[in-house]
């Protein structure tokens, strides 16, 4: 019996691709040809496998081996050792905390602790081949819906599954569809919102690259359920690989008769058109997104009327997130009971996060709803990667909130997060350690929403700007008593007064950081110190003359000439010239560690005195 053919799955997700996995793919293909191994092995391109931290990654199927951080120079060894001699390259396996190597990805805690439902195909099928998707049960859900169920039954199925909108608000998807179905009118539209714009979020983009057909299938089911003949995918222009992947998938779907006229011989017609966004964050808001499709400036309008009554071109419209639609395809395939058995009573199913920041395993994570933050960050994510203390986690992107370590046992679902002041959002999760200043974090997210405000309503346009001014003031050590109260009042104005979700949620980072880290604000305002030593105006760099070995590394790298001193003599930093870039601290040899970052109000003597 001939050996089963070895498949080398090269991840071409954004993270791995930027680490030159495309070169690996090309080289592997060449080498296999060169060594005439075509009968023995095949190279396959896959979308995001999940563990971006270890990229570029190559999975070897069917054994399920997993090579991490593969370099171009490793290819030869993989060919020689693994493919020719049948001996896997051990040094490329995942290195566990205790130094042991784990050959199979299913044994790596990052994967072992996840529950992959929507991401099941990601990293396993070739997204550019519709047959790969069909082979793993793809389009079974659509077939079932079209051939065995009435639109009402489809809606009932999705409603029973308890699926809630994965775009962030968590509105029951089935209910939304029911509203759109019952809205009067012959012309209706279904839209997939793939305008993922949160800093630090890459779930939707990854799914579109790794498993585009699942989204198309879900969108087709949605269109069938509400009675739409035309559907749109609004994807951001800044996702070129997602755009390319979708284009290919759309073409294949039309060719195979999953789109177009008389789909699967059922008489159902559907056209899906892809629209590219032009880079405005606010276009992820559904009414702004529809305005953008209509060719107008992407500006939200007040709801009601909700899109299900009057949406795109005034017609009833259902608009769903990428993850919701991918889940729909699975619900129709596996049945609502199965889906509902995952997750919690109020939020069934799974939650997908893009885990980033100061975490060991950066990557794409899927866990059942109700899993705790601790599970996601520590069990799956491997904890803070820097060796420092965990400080906070930001969920829900720029409109979400920062939760402290006291909240680590909070179950992650729509309702618990909102109660804690954060939001589920579309699924960004940024981990922060003790070197993060919470005032700085709040300012960062606010500056993002401030710049991305469409300018239509005053509270969002001007309120966020005023908040930003106060935060800047605090950060620069000019904070006054009463600033926190002023901030809270502005937050209230912006939350209650703003037109759309962008403004209504923009103060969340400020509100949660004040709620959970108020003492940090107070330290900035009263003591003019930044406890995390981040705020540039509140720190200074000094050289301890007792430790300095006079190597001159600091004076060579200093861009302004502030670090001065004779060779072999103790150096010092001229504070007037210092721009606090921190280069000196970085280059100071560890054996000396003479450069110190200290609060601006303190002297070296204070610090040393305190240490004694």
């Amino acid at each position: 019996m001939a050996d089963e053919k070895i498949e080398l799955l090269v991840c071409l997700g954004t993270g791995c691709e930027s680490a030159k996995s495309d070169v690996l793919f090309a080289k592997l293909s060449d080498e296999i040809k060169k060594h005439k191994l075509e009968n023995k092995a095949a190279v396959k391109r896959i979308g995001c496998h999940g563990l971006c931290q270890q990229g570029p990654v190559i999975a070897v199927e069917p054994e399920g081996l997993f090579y991490c951080q593969v370099k171009e120079s490793d290819i030869e060894e993989i060919i020689q050792s693994h493919l020719i001699k049948g001996k896997p390259v051990e040094r490329l396996f995942y290195e566990h905390d205790d130094g042991t190597r784990i050959p199979h990805y299913r044994d790596i805690p990052f994967y072992a602790k996840q529950t992959r439902v929507v991401l099941k195909n990601s990293g396993h099928i070739d997204p550019s081949k519709i047959d790969d998707y069909i082979a793993v049960g793809g389009y079974k859900g659509l077939e079932r819906a079209l051939k065995e169920m009435s639109p009402e039954e489809v809606i009932e199925e999705v409603y029973n599954s308890g699926l809630r909108g994965r775009g962030g608000a968590g509105f029951p998807t089935g209910l939304k569809w029911k509203f759109a179905r019952s809205s009067p009118g012959d012309v209706k539209y279904a839209i997939c919102n793939a305008d993922e714009g949160d800093p630090g979020a890459f779930m939707d983009g990854s799914i579109l690259v790794a498993d585009p057909h699942s989204v198309l299938e879900g969108l087709s089911i949605a269109a069938y359920a509400i009675g739409a003949r035309e559907a749109f995918i609004y994807v951001r222009h800044e996702y070129p690989s997602a755009v390319a992947s979708l284009k290919k998938a759309l073409k294949q779907s039309y060719e195979r008769g999953f789109l177009g006229e008389n789909i699967l011989g059922t008489g159902f017609n559907l056209d899906i058109r892809m629209m590219e966004g032009a880079g405005a964050f606010v276009c992820g808001e559904e009414t702004a997104l529809m305005a953008s499709i209509e060719g107008k400036r992407g500006m939200p309008r007040p709801r009601p009327p909700f899109p299900t009554e009057a949406g795109l071109w005034g017609k009833p419209t259902v608009i769903n997130n990428v993850k919701s639609l991918a889940a729909v395809a699975i619900i129709l395939r596996e049945g609502w009971e199965w889906f509902k058995s995952i997750g919690t009573e109020g939020s069934p199913g799974t939650a997908i996060f893009s885990l980033t920041g100061k975490v060991k395993n950066t990557g794409l994570v899927e866990v059942p709803m109700g899993a705790t933050l601790r599970h996601i960050i520590f069990d799956v994510g491997g904890g803070v990667g820097t060796g420092r203390e965990f400080k906070a986690v930001q969920t829900g992107g720029p409109a979400g909130g920062c939760l402290p370590k006291e909240k680590l046992d909070l179950p992650v679902d729509f309702d618990s997060l909102r109660e804690a002041g954060a939001i589920m959002g579309s699924g960004g999760m940024i981990v922060m350690d003790e070197t993060t200043c919470m005032v700085d974090v709040a300012r960062y997210f606010l500056s993002f929403t401030q710049q991305e405000s469409c300018g239509k309503c005053t509270p969002c346009r001007m309120g966020t700007l005023e908040m930003l001014k106060i935060l800047d003031k605090i950060r620069e050590g000019r904070g006054e008593e009463g600033d926190i109260e002023k901030l809270l009042e502005l937050c209230d104005t912006v939350v209650k007064g703003s037109l759309c979700g962008l403004g209504q949620n923009a103060p969340n980072p400020v509100l949660t950081t004040i709620k959970y880290f108020r003492e940090e604000y107070e330290a900035h305002i009263r003591d003019k110190t930044c406890p995390a030593m981040v705020c540039r105006d509140l720190v200074k760099y000094v050289i301890d003359p007792d430790l300095c070995i006079g190597c001159g590394a600091c004076s060579r790298i200093c861009p302004t000439g502030a670090a001065q001193g004779e060779k072999k003599q103790a150096h010092h930093i001229e504070q007037d010239m210092c721009i606090k870039c921190g280069a000196c601290l970085e280059v100071c040899p560890p054996k000396a560690s003479a450069v110190l970052k200290i609060p601006i109000s303190k002297t070296l003597a204070d610090i040393k005195g305190g240490a004694q």
């Binding site: 309008r301 009601p304 300018g455 239509k456 346009r461 001007m462 104005t493 209650k496 037109l499």
Partner: protein, 748 residues
């Protein structure tokens, strides 16, 4: 009937999807402050000033966008709501100068600094163009904002003064986007938009070009909806409040827009669109009516004194002398050697008197006016009693529109606005003939043929032919199916006269729209239909009725004059070219403006402009509209009807003691005859003059752009707005650029 409770008051209303809480509150007399809301525009929900508390709804909702539903309980003011609105308003006022609103001294400021300050920008209170009617101030006062707890931020944007007619000072802008919405949704021009994001958002053209380049028509709709002083008409912003405002009719084209003329120091200083309820324009205008009237009326080119020729020199004379001289000429010249030219920009009454002097005094029917052919063609063909000519609001009932013979976006902007309303509700617009950018964008189908060939295209349309030039067979099929059902409207421009057989052309059009269809003629000059009614045309008698007597048309008159067979010409329209009339011995020139005729005149009779004259005007909808004497004519000028009445009296016409234009109108009404099909039986048409094809509006002898320099800027930009025959794609453009401009040239 549904019931809604607003501030503990039960209000009954008829629920519809469009009826919002704000609408119901307004009808009940409950004031809810608003800034971005405007009754012509769709609800926007941006300013947040109309937030209300509705029981059972999450958060506060804007009253302007929330549909009123039965049983709603609404509170427009609670302590928290008022505080929220005050805080929002404070945020809004960070970027808007607050001196005029919050300063303790503002009343003294108004009192002791009465002189206008022509500063380049507005930083305080007195120099704001809107200081006398500021909507923002009203809202601030209502909400009770007393302080600004934030540092004011002056945006420091240079005042934009490069474009004609109006200044733009976006330092005063509150981003209500009314201007953008009226330009986009109501006028269909889309010249401006909101650019940039966040607090840098501002009103701008695409890519920051000038308004002339961005396709603005300077209709002034944006200026009229602006709640602040950001947009202001340059000529009038510093003058203050009018002492008096009178609504009258603009005669600068056949639309007959109602215009509010503002008067100060007994001079016409403002022209603004007429009231919202006044048809046909309903508070909208074009560049001519909105910005040109004061300059046009007050120009030094006006004729000032009556003059007569003494010893071959034209010298000032008294009115009596001038009238007597004119009467003498009329009496002494043999009737077959006298010609009359009326002006389509006169009142109907004055034109009636002129034809009366011609027919009863000089005993000739040699009277005509410029543009009478088109007017007569329209009336002649539509005289079969089917109410073909309808008012513009009837456009709301049509299922499709066919336009032909001119680009009404250029020439008749108010008609264009009414058509755009239909385009917005997806009524197919089919255009035949050359068009400009806007119409191109609006038209569902464009049959792109030169004006000479529209006749052929129309007859093909009428035959439901599938091979129509410039469009595909599929398009022709779709057009055929559109125009063969429902109620259609035809918008027909005067360039139809350039075809070989305008009669046949119009008949084909009438065949297409059938019995139910309606026709909107685009009269280019003004009161053409009024002059037809007054009988100021050789073959038409007052009423109008058919004249079997032989008279002379303008063309025939010119021919005869060039042969030296005309001795006396009585002309009231300086816009008629002098060419061909050089040999006429005596010319009585009665007009408000000096022109090439002035120097040739034997008798010069200075007359009033339309804003200084009483009378009536018939617009393209056959609507009779009033002209009002708002101020006295300048210098010694007199109203046309007064001058003509004096002449009639001097030559001894039987009945010539009219006390007012109303007397004349009554006399004309008595002769009113029902239109009959045989009103017009002409075989040939005066060929249209070539130099008249590009839009360059004239008013009684003066090209408006000569007097109003800003208008010239707009007219000069028109060639660039005509449609490029084939559109280049971006790739084609890049390819062409690469091919044509080698890199070397770029370097040089």
């Amino acid at each position: 009937m549904a019931v809604i409770k607003i501030d503990n008051q039960n209000i009954e209303f008829e629920p519809t999807i469009e009826k919002t809480i704000l609408d119901v509150a307004r009808e009940a007399g409950i004031y809810i402050p608003t800034l971005c809301d405007h009754d012509e525009l769709e609800p926007y929900g941006g300013c947040r000033m109309c937030l209300v508390d509705v029981e059972g709804m999450r958060g506060y909702v804007p009253a302007c966008t929330t549909t009123a539903k039965d049983g709603m309980v609404v509170k427009t003011s609670t302590d928290e709501l008022n505080s929220l609105k005050r805080r929002i308003l404070q945020l809004l006022m960070i970027e808007h100068p607050v001196g005029c609103i919050l300063c303790d001294e503002r009343e003294q400021c108004d009192k002791f600094r009465p002189q206008a300050q022509k500063a380049g920008r507005v930083s305080g209170c007195y120099t704001c163009p809107n200081r006398n009617h500021c909507e923002l101030e009203e809202v601030v006062n209502f909400i009770g904002m007393k302080t600004l707890p934030y540092d004011p931020e002056y945006r420091d944007i240079p005042v934009e003064r490069e474009d004609p007619f109006f200044d733009r000072d976006y330092n005063l802008c509150i981003l209500c986007a009314r201007c953008v919405r009226v330009c986009d949704d109501v006028r269909g021009t889309a010249a401006i938009t909101i650019a940039k994001r966040g607090h840098e958002s501002r009103i701008d053209t695409a890519f920051g070009t000038s308004h002339v380049e961005s396709g603005c028509w300077f209709c002034g709709a944006c200026v009229d909806v602006c709640p602040t002083g950001s947009l202001s008409a340059r000529k009038t912003k510093w003058i203050g409040i009018p002492e008096e405002t009178v609504e009258t009719t603009c005669v600068l084209c056949g639309t007959g827009c109602q215009v509010n003329i503002g008067v100060k120091y007994n001079k016409i200083m403002w022209s603004e669109p007429g009231n919202k309820d006044s048809p046909p324009n309903h508070h909208h205008m074009c560049v001519l009516g909105r910005f040109c009237i004061p300059t046009l009326v007050n120009t030094p080119r006006r004729t000032k004194n009556p003059m007569i020729t003494k010893d071959s020199i034209l010298v000032p004379a008294s009115w009596d002398e001038a009238i007597n001289e004119a009467a003498r000429l009329l009496k002494d010249t043999p009737s077959e050697k006298i010609g009359f030219i009326a002006s389509p920009q006169m009142t109907t009454e004055a034109a009636y008197l002129l034809q009366k002097i011609a027919r009863e005094g000089a005993n000739t029917s040699a009277i005509d006016f410029m543009g009478s052919d088109f007017a007569a063609l329209i009336l002649g063909n539509l005289a079969d009693g089917h109410d073909k000519i309808q008012t513009l609001d009837k456009l709301d009932e049509v299922d499709w529109i066919l336009s032909i013979g001119g680009d009404f976006v250029v020439t008749h902007q108010v008609v264009a606005k009414s058509v755009y309303k239909q385009v917005r509700r997806n009524v197919p617009l089919i255009h035949v003939g050359p068009i400009g950018e806007n119409l191109r964008r609006w038209a569902s189908y464009h049959i792109n043929v030169p004006i000479k060939k529209i006749e052929n295209a129309i007859s093909k349309l009428a035959q439901k032919s599938m091979s129509i030039p410039s469009i595909t067979k599929e398009q022709a099929e779709r057009i055929a199916s559109i125009i063969s059902s429902g109620r259609g409207a035809i918008i027909v421009g005067s360039r139809i006269m350039e075809t070989k057989n305008p009669d046949k052309c119009l008949s084909a059009l009438l065949e297409i729209i059938g019995r139910e269809g309606v026709v909107y003629p685009l009269l280019p000059l003004g009161n053409e239909l009024g002059l037809i009614k007054a009988g100021a045309r050789a073959d038409i008698l007052p009423g109008p009725a058919v004249n079997s007597e032989k008279g002379l048309t303008l063309g025939e008159l010119r021919d005869k004059a060039s042969k030296g067979q005309i001795e006396l010409l009585y002309i009231t329209d300086g816009s008629v070219s002098l060419t061909g009339f050089e040999k006429v011995e005596n010319i009585i020139y009665q007009a408000p403006y000096a022109s090439e005729w002035t120097d040739r005149a034997t008798v010069l009779l200075p007359s009033a402009s339309f804003a200084e004259e009483d009378g009536t005007f018939v617009n393209h909808e056959m609507r009779e509209l009033r002209l009002k004497r708002i101020v006295d004519p300048p210098y010694h000028a007199r109203q046309d009807w007064e001058i003509l009445q004096n002449i009639a009296r001097s030559i001894g016409l039987s009945k010539s003691d009219y006390k007012s234009p109303e007397d004349i109108w009554n006399e004309l009404e008595k002769q009113k005859a029902g239109l009959k099909k045989d009103i017009y039986k002409r075989k040939s048409w005066t060929p249209a003059r070539k130099d008249e094809t590009r839009w360059n509006p004239k008013y009684r002898g003066v090209a408006i752009a000569e007097v109003v320099k800003d208008l010239k800027v707009l007219i000069d930009s028109l060639p660039s707005r005509e449609v490029i025959e084939k559109r280049e794609s971006l790739d084609e453009l890049l390819e062409r650029l690469q091919r044509k401009i080698p890199s070397k040239e770029v370097l040089e």
